[in-house]
């Protein structure tokens, strides 16, 4: 199933108008992602990686171009249809975890199922399984602020997994964590990928990007590099050598 392409970005443009000038946050991006891949999208701030993440995550639609997700053209969808896509097909992991502070872990994890219309009993059962998977089932009744950052991020991963999405989209998942917990979270994501989940990792950090199997580098709204992690490592080293020379 390796070459089963299910995410396809065709010539994606996202253009913002600022007075008279047009800003091309995405400037003709083409990208294909197959099921089971773990792809890092790397770029500096302002490179346009957030824009492409928003489009892949169905939070936004492109100005021009097509985004096909599992055979569905997402690029022309209206707000509620996009919400449905986010609910059923995408699991988000955010830098700031984005857990609801007044709800316990179980309720937080079951939130996507609530909007999917899953019954209460089934919801609790699946949310509990999700918490178990990230090793936090004992703490199900606690509030997010009673947990460490790494634990909160694991809860948000459990939440991303609970609806069995086609894609897990992790936006700087280690951005707020120390190196030890970052390692744990990255290992968890890698493990989930081994289990067959497709993961797209958005990061500004080359060392994090190298944890993925494939790296896509974005600069000025364009794809600058697309290859394996190994190739990307060589690319960086080459550039460093050139700059050092």
């Amino acid at each position: 199933m390796k070459n089963d392409v299910f995410i396809e970005l065709k010539d994606i443009y996202k253009i913002y108008k600022m007075g008279d000038t047009e800003i091309h946050a995405s400037d003709g991006i083409n990208l294909q992602i197959s099921r089971g891949e773990m792809v890092a999208i790397v770029g500096k701030s302002g490179s346009g990686k957030s824009t492409i993440m928003n489009i892949i995550g169905a939070l936004d639609v492109p100005t021009k171009g097509e985004y096909i997700l599992e055979g569905k053209d997402v690029s022309k969808m209206k707000a509620d249809a996009l919400a449905e896509v986010r609910n059923k097909m995408i699991g988000f992991v955010f830098q700031q975890y984005n857990l609801l502070p007044k709800q316990n872990l179980l309720d937080n994890v079951s939130l996507p199922l609530l909007y999917a219309g899953v019954g209460e009993k089934e919801r609790k059962k699946r949310a509990m399984e999700g918490l178990k998977k990230v090793g936090l089932e004992e703490k199900w009744s606690q509030l997010p602020n009673q947990l460490s950052g790494g634990q909160q991020q694991r809860v948000s991963i459990a939440r991303a997994l609970v609806g069995n999405p086609s894609l897990i989209l992790a936006d700087e998942p280690t951005g707020a964590l120390d190196s030890k917990t970052s390692r744990e979270v990255l290992d968890l994501l890698k493990q989930l990928n081994e289990e067959g989940n497709t993961i797209v990792l958005i990061t500004h950090d080359n060392s994090i990007a190298l944890e993925a199997k494939r790296v896509v580098k974005i600069l000025d709204g364009k794809v600058l590099f697309d290859g394996t992690a190994k190739e990307y490592r060589n690319e960086i080293m080459a550039n460093n050598e050139i700059s050092m020379a």
Partner: protein, 392 residues
């Protein structure tokens, strides 16, 4: 998302912000309580009034002859004839004339007593019961006896409750003999049926200096017949006088209807004024909900990123506003009902809040919450998920 889930969520948010929720409700509580108090007191007053009017007899039809010079007059024999001819529907009729005077017994004098002149049938028709003595008789009216039958209010206030047949009282200086004492029929208060002083109508007419009798009271057999009989009397009187200006025919039912209409109008005006406070309360709710939407932009972003549709967010905030104002409404209803009862007892009447008033108030408070919650909710629902997620 199911409605029940959304309601649970709304409830959690309300109790999660207890102080703020209570302050938001306060406007609604005060507004609803004041509407409840005003409407309930008004209704209770109306009911008291209607009851006391109804006490006077809903089967009665009053005929007043304005009789101008040269016009034919209506004599007692005429009305008895009329009743005889309509005996299927009419119970009877009596001259009914009054004057106000001072009544003196022993060392006690009481002013402003209404002396009512009636015939021998009156006490029986009105189903008044005697505690002692007898009623007015035919011979009393025939020879203008200065006799009287008194009610318990007169008995209590002038005779210290010890009136008995044979007592002599002075009405405007004229000596009257008490021949009968009536049993208490309502509560012996000044505004009840127990405030009565009956004498033969001929005697009263002479004392008041009336040449002819101009006021008659007719009794229908049933209150349902009153309207029809009022028309019959009007027809009969027109036939006699050939002018509608020479007489007037009124009945209690018309008066009661008129009072009801007046009170309804009055109640709606008052409720309308108090209702303005409900609108103010609604604006307060809208205000807080707008603040709440701004504060919870991040939460809205999170919910949207996880798949909440516009209608889910919309419902959450509308229900939160509706629940807040409904709870305020319920508290207001309870508070209003309690204050109504207390005020009623201070004012010396039995004041209660009707279920109807309570239900309507509840409906209005819930409706206002939903109405004024709509704008903030739609603001929340329209938020762009990316911007919402970015906010702190």
């Amino acid at each position: 998302m199911k409605l029940w889930q959304t309601m649970k969520l709304a409830w959690l948010n309300i109790i999660g912000n207890r102080m703020r929720s209570f302050l938001t409700m306060l406007g609604m509580i005060i507004g609803v309580a004041s509407v409840i108090i005003l409407v309930s007191l008004m209704e209770s007053m109306t009911n008291e009034m209607l009851n006391s009017y109804a006490d006077m007899g809903v089967n009665n039809i009053t005929v007043e002859i304005h009789g101008r010079n040269g016009n034919p007059v209506l004599k007692e024999e005429d009305i008895y004839d009329y009743v005889e001819k309509h005996k299927d529907t009419m119970l009877g009729a009596t001259p009914n004339i009054t004057f106000t005077g001072s009544v003196k017994f022993g060392g006690k004098t009481k002013d402003g007593i209404t002396v009512t002149g009636v015939d021998e049938s009156y006490i029986k028709i009105m189903k008044r019961q005697l505690q002692a003595g007898r009623g007015i008789t035919y011979s009393d009216t025939a020879i203008r006896n200065k006799t009287c039958v008194i009610g318990s209010y007169i008995n209590n206030t002038i005779f210290n409750g010890k009136a008995k047949p044979g007592d002599l009282v002075y009405v405007n200086g004229e000596e009257f003999k008490v021949v009968g004492v009536l049993k208490e029929e309502s509560d012996s208060s000044e505004w009840s049926k127990d405030n009565c002083f009956y004498s033969p109508y001929t005697t009263v007419a002479k004392l008041a200096g009336m040449g002819t009798i101009s006021n008659y009271l007719f009794f229908a057999k049933d209150s349902k017949l009153v309207e029809e009989e009022t028309k019959n009397l009007q027809r009969y009187l027109f036939h006699t006088f050939h002018s509608t200006k020479a007489y007037s025919v009124t009945n209690m039912i018309d008066i009661l209807k008129e009072i009801k209409n007046q009170q309804k109008l009055m109640t709606s005006v008052l409720a309308g004024i108090a209702g303005i406070s409900l609108v103010v309360a609604g604006i307060g709710i809208m205000n807080i909900m707008l603040v709440s939407v701004t504060e919870r932009t991040k939460e809205i972003g999170i919910r949207k990123s996880l798949g909440a549709k516009r209608k889910d967010i919309m419902r959450q905030f509308v229900l939160e506003a509706g629940t807040t104002s409904s709870i305020g409404g319920v508290i207001g209803i309870v508070l209003g009902a309690v204050v109504t009862t207390k005020l009623g007892s201070v004012m010396g009447m039995q004041a209660t809040t009707s279920i109807q008033t309570a239900l309507v108030s509840f409906g209005i408070s819930a409706g206002i919450g939903i109405l004024f919650g709509y704008l903030p909710a739609s603001k929340a629902a329209k938020l762009n998920p990316i911007d919402a997620l970015r906010s702190e």
